[in-house]
Symmetry: C2
Subunit: 79 residues, 2 copies
């Protein structure tokens, strides 16, 4: 079992972006074309959305995917 086969944990700051922009889950869901359940799931964490949805969220908040989503590194070789 190689490392590349382990599931990556993807964390996100969607809740923060939503707070900053003062938009509700329901509004955001409508804006990006999904249901509130999906937004809830993403904010709940440990959830792996589609790339398209990630792009839509980034685009809505006029930012980059990496500003919202990031990979949880188990292995800290960022130096």
């Amino acid at each position: 079992m190689t490392k590349s086969n382990m599931q990556l944990k993807i964390s996100n700051r969607l809740h923060v972006f939503r707070a900053e922009h003062r938009i509700t889950q329901e509004q955001l869901a409508k804006e990006v074309g999904v249901t509130r359940a999906t937004i809830v799931a993403i904010e709940g964490g440990g959830y792996n959305p589609s790339l398209e949805l990630a792009f839509r969220l980034a685009r809505y908040f006029k930012t980059d995917i990496n500003a919202i989503f990031s990979v949880e590194e188990e292995n800290n070789e960022q130096g």
Copy 2:
């Protein structure tokens, strides 16, 4: 029907990255933990992978998601 409800077309340069790195579909598939069919599907285009897989591919090529995947803008304000 608002624009935000239309499906975004996501294009990618996976084929290019793979050529540059001289790695086969099968090798790459193994590296990022999917099957060759998935790599073929992505390179074929019009395919919407998971965000996790997008992150894995970017990470493998030591680059950013945006260098590999991009949204096809119907509305050309990309500078």
